[in-house]
């Protein structure tokens, strides 16, 4: 079983809809949670960075972390065709335990005009 699980999709939504993405994890030592966006043939680009449980909002993006359930989410409001990409969740432990990121497999999102 992988440490971080993510539905591969594809997730297809109409333009303007809310995109809901999530990951589950098994290691309670993870403290820092990230969402990366990866366009085809490009490297991952950091979207959101959160520490421990709670919500964080940045423009159209909202990240949620529920450590008690070992579940993180990313919501994209007013989705645009340019949001079509693969979204990767990533997480890591405290720095003293090493700076290794553990990624989910990614969810492919398609926003249709």
């Amino acid at each position: 079983q992988k440490e971080v699980e993510q539905d591969p999709g594809p997730l297809s939504v109409p333009e303007g809809a809310i995109v809901s993405l999530n990951c589950t994890y098994s290691n309670s030592a993870f403290q820092y949670f990230m969402w990366y966006r990866q366009y085809s043939r490009k490297g991952p680009e950091l979207l959101m960075y959160t520490y421990s449980s709670g919500n964080k909002e940045d423009g159209r993006f909202t990240a949620q972390v529920d450590k008690s359930s070992k579940y993180i989410s990313l919501f994209i409001r007013d989705s645009q065709p340019s949001d079509s990409a693969t979204y990767l969740c990533a997480m890591r432990k405290v720095k003293a335990a090493g700076n290794k990121l553990t990624f989910g497999g990614g969810t492919r999102v398609l926003v249709k005009p």
Binding site: K42, G43, K95, N99, G105
Partner: protein, 115 residues
């Protein structure tokens, strides 16, 4: 500010041939990472450098893979000899290496095809 630079972007080789990838991190970033990304999967760490020292190479297949980061800036990842299963995207990332909120920035990757 320039991002992480990688070259070549694409490489096609025959099995058993050697291949090398180059990475130039963001200026001032002390920590450099090499990741492997298979199709439809997330990146997996191969090796992490703090300046010129490899501090985590536990996932690097040392029988055929090697890496170096001379002078603590640019880095090279080498495979010799390449196998069919090495076909993947090789990503380089860098970070400042300071504090708990240390953030990794990725390059565009090198897509390797082994025939």
């Amino acid at each position: 500010e320039a991002g992480v630079v990688q070259s070549p972007r694409y490489k096609i080789i025959e099995k058993k041939q050697p291949v090398a990838f180059w990475c130039n991190p963001i200026s001032g970033h002390n920590t450099l990472y090499w990741y492997l990304q298979n199709l439809g999967q997330g990146p997996e760490l191969l090796i992490r450098y703090e300046n010129e020292e490899a501090v985590d190479d536990s996932q690097l297949p040392k029988d055929r893979f090697s890496a170096e980061r001379l002078k603590g800036v640019d880095s090279t990842l080498k495979i010799q000899p390449a196998e069919l299963g090495d076909s993947a995207v090789y990503l380089c990332a860098s970070s400042l290496g300071l504090g708990e909120a240390d953030t990794q920035y990725f390059g565009p990757g090198t897509r390797l095809t082994v025939l």
